[in-house]
Amino acid sequence: MRLRFIITEVFQGLRRNTTMAFSVIIVTLVSLAFVGAAALLQTQVGKLKDDWYDKVEVSIFLCPNVSVFAQCKAGPVTDAQQEEIIRVLETGALGDIVEQVYPESKEEAWENLLKRDPDGFFAQQLTADDMQPSLRVKLKDPEQFALVADAVGELDGVEHVFDQREVFDTLFQILNRATLLAAALAVVMLLAAMLLITTTIRLSALSRRRETTIMRMVGSSKTLIQLPFMLEGVIAATTGAVLSIIGLWLTVRYLVQDWLVTSNLNWVDYIDQGDVLAVAPWLILIALGLSAVSSLVTLGRYTSA
């Protein structure tokens, strides 16, 4: 009896305030989409960092067969030269700041190129022999890049020293700023969502004042009086959350996976639908928390006085 009563009340309430219910749904949808977007952007940053940032920080490009640089006039790097460079990196003053050195031979560079873009122009036109060997150096403290550049920059067989962070930092900076922007919008929108849920509950309470007055007068319990209103907020907010999850899922599925992955940017490890599902429970929790807080703030005032 009571359960059916509550359910009827909830749906009557939602029907009576359709415009408000829709506003709540839309605003929660958008705000949680931003929360989700911020989270996914950070996941993407994490994936990129996992991919490269941790692994490689400084690339020491060694002289290839053909080079425009004056330092490589003497011809391609020899094994002895390479060993000397590695020795400098791993011992002495640099030994303390270098964590690890990964040599990448021409052949490995060639394979990486093929993996990234097998049908590309360069893969068609070049051979392994045209590639450039390099040493990838991981530093204990990435800030020490300058020391490495100074120490090995002038050694025989080194073409040039390149801090890969430069490239990634720009990208990460962009992604981080995007995260911040999304988070800021999320906060603003969540505020709006909260105000809206509050007003929806208030409106609903006002439009059913007759009913609640009678309920109080005949001795209905406080729970039974307030529950329908709370549930209205909860249902609207949760609907918004579910829609935002669907939106994010579709975006990741069609924009990121289908489009980015098949584009020529496909050598990057992208977020996938799994990451959306990992974020989903949090979005639903936020929606529930939001409506719970709004209910608590509002209900006391509008159903008892």
Binding site: M1, R2, F5, R210, E211, T213, I214, M215, R216, M217, V218, G219, S220, S221, K222, L224, I225
Partner: protein
């Protein structure tokens, strides 16, 4: 049944109290008229009984409960022992007669079987048998008030509070409502009724408590509306 012990109620600090040291005892089965000019505190008295308002000072006992000590989650239990009828009927306009009365039972968790048996019974008692399906706006004022009384009384509470139940009714209709309340009173229910209606009070000759500016100025068995004729 209802005991007021030096009860005062001040709504606005500094203003004249709405009730001023009121001490009144109403026994089980009494029929009491609460009379007095507008603003004399009649509605305030009833609200205190229902614990819609709390007194500024003094103690109130209703149906064996000390309202000052009643935990707020127990207020619904108190209200199930009190029926309340108002001047403006307060029916739900989109529910029919049966549903209006049933609503009061649904929201205190009665099951469908109980509702289906007790609502027709009470509608017969108030003389609305056969009009279950009508909507409030299809009823006359007197009939609407009967629905309100049925709703207040369907749970057979020991106390019935009425705040000017005939204020919106014409004299003929009012007499019918009073007969109904009298009948309910005879079943052992305590009836406390605030009213302006001198004619009715004079006809019924029940106990009359008169308030003036929040003070009890008269408490008379078989009284009339005013001592000086209106």
């Amino acid at each position: 049944m209802i005991n007021f012990n030096e009860v005062s109620k001040v709504y606005t600090r500094g203003a004249r109290p709405a009730l001023d040291e009121v001490t009144v005892a109403i026994e089980r089965g009494d029929f009491v008229f609460l009379v007095g000019a507008s603003g004399s505190g009649k509605s305030t008295f009833l609200k205190l009984v229902l614990r819609e308002e709390r007194p500024t000072s003094g103690r109130i006992h209703v149906a064996g409960r000390d309202l000052g000590r009643l935990a707020s989650w127990r207020v619904p239990l108190l209200r199930r022992e009190i029926g309340a009828v108002f001047q403006d009927f307060r029916l739900l306009p989109n529910k029919n007669v049966f549903q209006n009365v049933a609503f009061a039972l649904q929201v205190i968790g009665k099951n469908r079987r109980y509702i289906d048996s007790s609502v027709p019974e009470i509608l017969d008692l108030v003389g609305l048998g056969g009009k279950e399906k009508r909507l409030p706006h299809e009823l006359s004022g007197g009939e609407q008030q009967r629905v309100a009384i049925a709703r207040a009384f369907v749970n057979r509470p020991p106390i019935l509070l009425c705040d000017e139940p005939t204020g919106n009714l014409d004299p003929g209709t009012s007499v019918g409502i009073m007969k109904l309340l009298d009948r309910i009173n005879r079943t052992g229910t305590t009836v406390l009724m605030a009213t302006h209606d001198d004619l009715i009070v004079d006809q019924m000759r029940k106990r009359v408590i008169e308030l003036r500016e929040g003070r009890v100025v008269r408490d008379q068995l078989q009284g009339v509306y005013g001592l000086e004729p209106a």
